[in-house]
């Protein structure tokens, strides 16, 4: 285990060192759906060393073994860039959103449910480098996501591996931003699209029909400073399982 400590420290260093982001991962959602008519709505609030974010998720199974999901993600950070004396000079920020839809199949088995989703989404990451210098990149993500979920009366456990193809089809960039930031964007433009896996999981306590859960997603990226990618997101969420809610009401 020891080698992982410096690795984690290095990760944190890069995460904190790079304050402008062009991508930040939303949570890997693992819908707790087992049969036709099941549905979930969820809201998760996350953070990493730099950004704060909100993640909204809805999923529903309209047919047997088939489900759809819709995710909306919003992230933001703002900070003051100091001058060489350490005094704050101007406000800078990173903000972005992402909307995606996915469809897939699920197959319950003895110890849980396996599922496979395929999805596509679009979003935007806007960085303000101060004194009205903006980079505004449109991003597009295609993904294939196998998931494994387990649930009982009290717990929810979900794991998902999101295989991502991320691209930046277009962008508008103020060339007055710092040369090193321009370099990051040019590198990103040159090397797009990117292929990488994101590993996500959640663990929740269930109080019918509500689940309170902790979420974690890790993106297996090159050092974030290469492209201004954010590689981690940790959050706390609340979800509502619609079939249980309606059952309660029927009772």
């Amino acid at each position: 285990m020891r080698p992982s400590i410096p690795l984690f420290a290095a990760f944190l260093f890069f995460a904190i060192g790079c304050r402008h982001y062009h991508y930040s991962p939303n949570f890997v959602h693992t819908p707790y759906i087992e049969k036709k008519g099941d549905g979930v709505v969820a809201a998760t609030f996350g953070a990493n060393p730099v950004t704060l974010n909100g993640d909204f998720h809805a999923s529903y199974s309209p047919i047997k073994h088939g489900a759809v999901m819709l995710n909306y993600f919003r992230t933001r950070s703002s900070f003051e860039e100091p001058n060489f004396l350490g005094q704050p000079v101007y406000q800078e920020s990173t903000e972005g959103y992402f909307l995606e839809a996915a469809a897939g199949g699920y197959w319950p088995f003895e110890f849980g449910t396996v599922a496979m989703y395929v999805g596509w989404g679009q979003g935007q990451m806007r960085n303000d480098y101060g004194i009205a210098r903006i980079s505004d990149l449109r991003l597009q993500r295609f993904f294939v996501q196998p998931t494994l979920t387990y649930k009982n009366d009290w717990f929810r456990l979900g794991l998902g591996l999101r295989l991502v193809q991320l691209s930046f089809p277009s962008g508008t960039i103020d060339y007055r931003i710092e040369p090193e930031d321009i370099e990051v964007i040019k590198r990103l433009e040159k090397d797009s699209p990117f292929w990488f896996p994101e590993l996500g999981g959640n663990l929740g306590l269930h109080f019918k029909p509500v689940t309170i859960s902790a979420h974690l997603v890790l993106a297996a990226l090159r050092p974030s400073t290469d492209y201004g990618f954010d590689g981690i997101n940790i959050g706390l969420g609340i979800s509502l399982e619609l079939q249980e809610l309606f059952k309660k009401r029927e009772k």
Binding site: Q165, F168, P169, T172, K190, S192, P193, W195
Partner: protein
């Protein structure tokens, strides 16, 4: 096979999406600024990067250029080419300092406003970057590289002021220059970018020109490439041995010329083609000079007939040669050093010198 169709389609879609490349739009000026500027100027959408980077062989011997600020250099470039800033609107700095000629002129004496003739050959500004970090110090200090053939200007700003206000050149006062700049609508956004305000002052005009002039240099010559590739000294540093050893990419004639140059010319002009070694020299053009050069400014006897020592970068582009343009080509220059040097009590060069034309 049919059951694999969705999977294959999925992968095909994946690959198709993967083929989409990014197409970013970089902009430097706002839409309003672009609309205004494009009415008057033909500036690149993204300004050029004016950063000067010395080749390794120069930076490794401790030479460095003066930092250039892009927005100021862009503004300086517009001013440099603006004929409105001369008395009769026919001459700009670029009229006598043509980029294609290493920012020199191919005339013996350039023409200023109202077809007036200048009194000395236009000095090539194409290698100001070579010594930009070394001007602005006292006249006699080691680092005191100066401007004009008679070294009368301490800085690029002084030099610009001197040319703009010279009756034979642009014949303006600095107040007139500042007023003219302020009256032209295209300068407001450029001043805003460079100085954070559209307010024009004489000093800001000169600062902008200085930034542009400081960026004038070229370091992609065959000489630089060869010097960069040469083996450093055993302690890992580039030293003068680099310039004294043969370059593998040079012909034998070029290496012979380099050898002769190092033996006979480099003590004034520098062996590494960086900043000149001497700030002034009397090269024996005349035994009794009429144009006193540096001595005419300083009044120092030993400097009468001495002139600024130029760097020899891009020398092939800057004919005619010498302060009065008396030599039409390099052959004449070399023949002068070979056989034409006149005796003078304060001569800086030996009376006899070997030609190194092939190298130059």
């Amino acid at each position: 096979m049919k059951k694999h169709v969705p999977i294959i389609s999925l992968f095909a879609l994946f690959l198709l999406l993967g083929a989409c490349k990014s197409d970013f739009n970089y902009f430097y000026y706002s839409k309003e600024e672009t609309e205004l500027l494009s009415q008057y100027l033909n500036l690149p959408e993204i300004p050029d990067d004016y950063t000067v980077t010395f080749p390794a062989h120069l930076s490794n011997v401790g030479l460095f250029p003066r930092a250039v600020e892009r927005d100021k250099a862009v503004l300086g470039r517009v001013i440099f080419y603006d004929k409105k800033l001369s008395k009769d609107g026919t001459v700009s700095c670029a009229s006598c300092h043509k980029q294609a000629l290493a920012f020199s002129d191919n005339k013996v004496f350039s023409e200023g406003v109202y077809d007036r003739s200048t009194t000395r050959n236009s000095f090539a500004l194409g290698s100001v970057a070579n010594f930009s970090a070394y001007y602005g110090t006292d006249l006699n200090g080691f680092n005191a590289i100066r401007f004009f053939w008679d070294n009368r200007a301490e800085t690029a700003a002084d030099q610009s002021r001197g040319s703009m206000t010279n009756a034979q050149e642009m014949d303006m006062s600095m107040q007139e220059i500042a007023a003219m700049v302020e009256s032209q609508p295209y300068y407001a956004p450029l001043f805003n970018k460079a100085f954070g305000s559209p307010v024009v002052t004489e000093d800001l005009v000169l600062e902008a020109i200085s930034n542009f002039v400081n960026a004038m240099g070229s370091f992609q010559s065959e000489f630089d490439a060869e010097a960069n590739q040469s083996d450093p000294t055993p302690d890992g540093n580039f030293g003068n041995t680099v310039y004294h050893s043969n370059f593998s990419g040079f012909t034998s004639a070029e290496n012979r010329g380099k050898y002769l140059y190092n033996a006979n010319c480099s003590s004034c002009h520098s062996g590494n083609m960086g900043r000149p070694v001497l700030q002034l020299a009397n090269n024996g053009l005349e035994s009794n000079p009429i144009d006193l050069g540096v001595g005419g400014i300083t009044g120092v006897n030993s400097e009468k007939g001495a002139f600024k020592v130029p760097t020899l970068r891009n020398i092939a582009l800057t004919a005619p040669y010498m302060h009065d343009g008396r030599f039409a080509n390099l052959e004449e220059v070399l023949e002068f050093y070979n056989s034409g040097i006149q005796n003078h009590p304060y001569l800086h060069v030996p009376n006899r010198i070997q030609v190194c034309h092939t190298f130059l």
